[in-house]
Amino acid sequence: MNSMSTGFHPTIAVFKFASCDGCQLSLLDCEDELLALAGAVRIANFQEMSRATIEGPYDIAFVEGSITTSADLERLERIRATSTALITIGACATAGGIQALRNFADVQEYTAAVYPRPEFIRTLATSTPIAEHVRVDFELRGCPINRHQLLEVITAALAGRRPAVPHHSVCAECKQRGTTCVLVAGGTPCLGPVTQAGCGAICPAVGRGCYGCYGPAEAANPRALGDRLLAGGMAPADVTRWFRTFNSAAPAFSKESLRHDPQRQR
């Protein structure tokens, strides 16, 4: 459906698993670039945007969402088999998402709490990242992802190079913005020191602590931050909650959340 007369037009597909749709919406949020992008690639499968679909193989598959059912796992394996590059977008796909809180609980009890006929529900006991099941070529973090980073990933893929996406912590972005440290100066709990940059440090900019949308930064030390939060007067159960939100299945956050978990589950 999209064609220009010359050049390589890679076939792009977007697939959704357990998620809120916000990360693929980020693609539609590229208001200034959307039509140009549609001219540069063949959008072969993007259900949120088009009823037209083209069968694989795909040059690039973007995958949003986590794996929570066996049917989804099979679908993921088919997508992997028909895609040259597979790029995950967002916290659900890279770290299980908020729905991974079931990993610390009993999913049967969860099912009975929400559905009147739990016997109808087919679900796995855990919500897991895509990379736990298939090879992933690049993971774009965020809850939601940053659309500028998404454009960088697409541009890099078109050029055949590695995306320039930083892995350092949110602290660097606060310094760049000139935001006074909310943790040091204000004693406000903040996950910025252990969370990967990418959002632009938007939470400290409005005076609240980072709540970890982008998951663990490279070489992060969550244990030191956990101790710091306790020393600042936070109750252990609250430290657990802080590390256990949208990236709770990321090992670095999961481990620190368990260290303070009064119930020591799992």
């Binding site: 539609l28 088009s50 679909t53 099912t111 939601p144 409005v206 609240r208």
Partner: protein, 436 residues
Amino acid sequence: MTHSASDSERLLEVHGLARVEGEGALRVVVRGGQVAEVALSIFEPPRFFEALLRGRRHDEAPDITARVCGICPVAYQTSACAAMEQACGVRVEGQIAALRRLLYCAEWIQSHALHIHLLHAPDFLGCQDAVGLAQFDRAAVERGLRLKRTGNLLMETVGGRAIHPVNVRLGGFHRAPGRAELEALRPHLEQAVEDAAATISWVAKFDFPDVEQDYLFVSLVGDGRYPIESGRVGTSHGWDLAVEEFEPLVIEDHVERSTALHARLEGRDPYLTGPLARYALNSERLPEEVRRAAGAAGLGAVCRNPFQSIVVRAVELLYACQEALRLIDGYQPPDPPAVEVSARAGAGTGGSEAPRGLLLHRYEIDAEGIIRAARLVPPTSQNQLSIEADLRRVVEDGLQLPDPELTWRCEQAVRNYDPCISCAAHFLEVSVERLA
């Protein structure tokens, strides 16, 4: 899409409904010239929000429930805040309440602009998507993208981020934007008013199937304004209730033929929420100028044609742009930007008008603010019965159409609702059972 046709039996199935938010499918069976079965299936995997909220702190509810839906996070945050504030005996008024309404206008602008131009209009013009539409009416698509961008700019300025805003908290906001920051948006919003007016004229000229449905309308009402972020619940059969009085009357039950959970009033009456309902119960509260534009687009005080929801959405888009400007005119940064919401044991209910309809939250919390029970009632589960009734009507009226056209018409009928399927996790057991 798969379909098979014979003289006596036709089966229309769409696996993977496009241009909706979330994963859905529909199935229509026609036997001997009669519509035997219509079912909208949701195969969105369960995420168990109501279960995972238990044990979380009350002040986490806005950010956690925002993740139910990437297209209407402000609706989730607003309903969550309202419910928790009620539980804790706090009222939010004045400029904080005005800022909330302004943020909600941003969500209406981006969501309505997206749905009208990118998701719904292509159906009326025979295009697979907005990219196809842009090939013969690029200006219309660009206008839609410009409107959407303005909604997102406003969202970023007030909420701190276009998707899952970070500036919302119980009692108000973390930081009140300065007057100058909002003033900087004025040119964008003035352009948006112009664009929205052009959008109304554009969609008014679409060809609408002749369908009138006898809906029971349900929407927020009250306080003399068109409802967005707060209000009482009104119905077209004369109810006028506080949200906490209304919520227990929404009963979600099983329907044997589809095994879906469907919301009914008092377990009995199907009802409709969303733009048609809001408009039917509140059109006289729209400013004169907006009402005139609606009239020029062929709308009376009530619209019962689900396909014309795109016109009503365009009217609401114009209203949201004008309302945002009006709120900016009267804006004084609230200081402090939030009132304190101290935990106390209790229960609270909050309701607000997501772009696609009424969204109710109810929580029970303990004295420490720990959530003990949660209920989320999203618009799409409330509308499921109406969607199926519309589909039945569309198929009955369109039996003479070939399968591909009838199937497309059915898809369009679902998209009339701008369904938010990720939100509607309540009835995913439909297809889970069907697939088994």
